[in-house]
Symmetry: C2
Subunit: 250 residues, 2 copies
Amino acid sequence: KNQILAIANQKGGVGKTTTAINLASVLGLIPLRCLVVDVDPQGNATTGLGHVVAGEGGTFRMATGIEEPQQVITKTREAGVDLVSACSFLERLAEQGEASGIRALRSCLEQVETYYDLILLDCPPSAGGLTRMALAVADGVLIPTQSEPYALEGVQGILQVISNVQRDHKPELRVAGTVLTMFEPEQPFAWEMASHLRHRYGLKVWDTVIPRDSVVAKAAALGRSVIKTEPCSRAALSYIELAREILDHE
Amino acid sequence: KNQILAIANQKGGVGKTTTAINLASVLGLIPLRCLVVDVDPQGNATTGLGHVVAGEGGTFRMATGIEEPQQVITKTREAGVDLVSACSFLERLAEQGEASGIRALRSCLEQVETYYDLILLDCPPSAGGLTRMALAVADGVLIPTQSEPYALEGVQGILQVISNVQRDHKPELRVAGTVLTMFEPEQPFAWEMASHLRHRYGLKVWDTVIPRDSVVAKAAALGRSVIKTEPCSRAALSYIELAREILDHE
Ligand SMILES: Nc1ncnc2c1ncn2[C@@H]1O[C@H](COP(=O)(O)OP(=O)(O)OP(=O)(O)O)[C@@H](O)[C@H]1O
Ligand SMILES: Nc1ncnc2c1ncn2[C@@H]1O[C@H](COP(=O)(O)OP(=O)(O)OP(=O)(O)O)[C@@H](O)[C@H]1O
Ligand SMILES: [Mg+2]
Ligand SMILES: [Mg+2]
């Protein structure tokens, strides 16, 4: 309960936003009370949940104290899922200095933490300030990754960022494992990836893999989760399974 | 001749590195003399061309004057393609201040420009300093993109970055169009994407699309181009076609 989970990987396009939205929407159906905080200036979690990235969106206004957290949190069409949207000012948050950004983000989340069972932080594809800030306020970090050589190379990078944040800000930050996304069993590298992650990096790899499924793009275009778009699709069923596996384990 | 082309898009995982490596390797066979400069700290262009991302790699040492450009340029296994590798210090280049980073990068590239017909700059998935620096020294920018809703949203972002760089540093920076990567004709969004890019943003979209092809990951794992890995694969043939289309046009 009252957990803050960062979804991070500086490798681009590995399914961070897709996992944040769809994990939250499955958990919201249980029902658990979920909050998705879009920490990526691109704002894909914001549009993926049916909202618009405004010039002065939620995360910045909240973290800089312009508005109370309760004022910037919006409902989404997904039952049990609220959103703090991204905005173009997010970079400024990181520019004000990491320590002050972390303090600001932490104090906001503390104000709303009791209303939510899980807060998900969707991170940008970068090892820079915004990702470090999100990791510094999180209890755990889930690392989505594709089964591709460049994505494997990127794992060392995100583990380095995590250990720097554990050293500088949050020693108790836990790695909540990796999840294989856009998985295609006939791809040459697919099966090697899990064993590389387990043996080379000692990482937990969730048994549930998320298959490549065209419903994901369809859902993103509609600003909805895959569960709401096509509940019996392979992607929807795998996010349901992933949620169950994570809940059983934690 | 003597063109500097940035490959940029702050949306992650859209095929920037794959396009930089494979376009260079096709052009190298003509033969044109190509140099790939890895401006992404992840170093995928470096490993994708068979080299290792060292702690003190090429781009930083070159740009900060520690080494002459000629000393940091390495040959690759691809005929006609040389490389300046990435390194973990790249972020430091951006931290020294944009203007000084641009001056440093520009003066290095000017020293080697005459030896190459084309210099390709592989950018990170970010709208920040390193991407702006690369754009500020480039003559043109090619924008790889997937035919997916989040990637379409990202186009506005990269066009904004480009117009900021045109305002602040290089008014004559040209947009050399967009190329559709990982194209799957049966995907719902595939055909809409090109018309959105053309009509909503007035962008040139190269007729050649790069299909999704598992040989790309196989080649990346080997540190080679797709042309060298499987010259008759769909991906290899499409990069050959793209190179011909761009050469005919420019
Ligand atoms: N299981 C899946 N099946 C098919 N396509 C998928 C799947 N998961 C994600 N995608 C697609 O892959 C692309 C990348 O996914 P997404 O944007 O969620 O990754 P990301 O890691 O958040 O990217 P970024 O690094 O830019 O933040 C998107 O276009 C998305 O639609
Ligand atoms: N035509 C293709 N067919 C199949 N897979 C592809 C294709 N092009 C790229 N890929 C795969 O998609 C992933 C993303 O490609 P790539 O790393 O080149 O994108 P990028 O934009 O450089 O990513 P980043 O934003 O992290 O720098 C890689 O794992 C690559 O192997
Ligand atoms: Mg994302
Ligand atoms: Mg890349």
